[in-house]
Amino acid sequence: MTRPLSIFGSNSTPQLGPFEQQVLQELWSRGSATVREMLADGKMYQAYTTVMTTLDRLYKKGLLDRTAEGRAFRYTPRLTSEELQRGAALDGIRQLLESGNTSALPLSYLVEALSTHDAQLLDQLQLLIEQKRRELQANEANMSAPKVKELH
């Protein structure tokens, strides 16, 4: 029952409504679930058929896998939350790039000036940031320590 469709290979990441997002969040926290299991703990107040239809819609959008379990289906997310966000951002950027020369558009982006960075470089930068954060915290602690002493 696994659908061979790659959503990142398609033109765009599917749009999700609020309830679809809620259902997806629930599946991410559970790992996998049937409709009955999702309704069992009382977090969702929607009707059985509403949840079933939503899960089916998410499956058709390529966001879930499903396997038959008795007379029902067990649904599993195909992507992690991070992968979905990444896909959505990529699609936004792709949309921009397809519109021609991006610098020609009167728009400003926080991360417009991208180099051909890779995950390793970003990891290194993240480490430097964490290190700097620790340094600053240590400095602040040192600064506040004498004041505490003075108060005593």
Binding site: S103, A104, D118, Q126, R133
Partner: protein, 315 residues
Amino acid sequence: MFALRGIAVSLTFFVLVYCCLSALVVISWRWLRWLHAAEQSVADLLFLLRVLPLFASIVFTVAFVVPSFQILEPRSANEGTGTLPLTLGLAALSLIALGSWRVVAAQRRTARIVALWLEGATPFETGSDTVTLRSHRLTPPLTLVGMRKPRVLVSDSTVELLTANELSIALRHELAHIRSYDNLKKLVFRFAPFPGMASLESAWSQAAELAADDAAVSNANNAVDLASALVKLSRLIPAKAAVEPAAVCTVGFVTGTISARVARLLAWDEAGRSREPLIPRWLAIPPVAIAIFCSFLAYGPVLNITHEVTEWLVR
């Protein structure tokens, strides 16, 4: 015939001054790398240089060429327009048409993309006067759209990924772009095409980013938060998607890659910032005032010289 000749001559002067000044700017703008000033001043100077050819050619044409022709050209003269003024006049018209088309095309493309992004967007409370919208569609992480009524678009993933401090400082970065009218400046660039200006525009873009970083950051903690936001949001944009903007934006003396921006933010110190002087904008007033005063004093002779050049061109 007189009017046609006047228009052709005016347009000829316009295109000649525009091309000469643009070529001069393309050759010489890199000298600004030796300037030791705050990024905001660098961005201002680069913008000034970029629009100088257009502005100066319009002023020269309106203030000198048109009056010299109207005052000094005998109306009864049965002269032809001349091949050179006609050709250059047509070139000027083509240049104006190309500039206008680029502006309209950029605006239309932007409007189309922004309309898609704004579908279903909801207000996002930030505590600032600027309208900030949370887009639930496929948008870049954090974007400033619009010129007359600028709006900041924040994507769902940005809100989820960034901490409150990081998001707040990233929004302050975008507000700095609003205060500098950076989107409007980008549109002005579209109106003045000239080969070789892309690297200057790219350098301006980098300087504007760094200036916005500087404006957003007021202490070392802010700087670390902004650096962290940059890295986190960069992770959302894979290198594959970044190839084209990188090709456009990495030229110029202000390096603007993510790593350079992060390194600059991590090295942030208040004393260092104050050593980079902000060149006051009012300093532009004295040279302009002197130029106007000199033009006023030498107006008659300049008109005569302009007319002589006109005659030479027509013949």
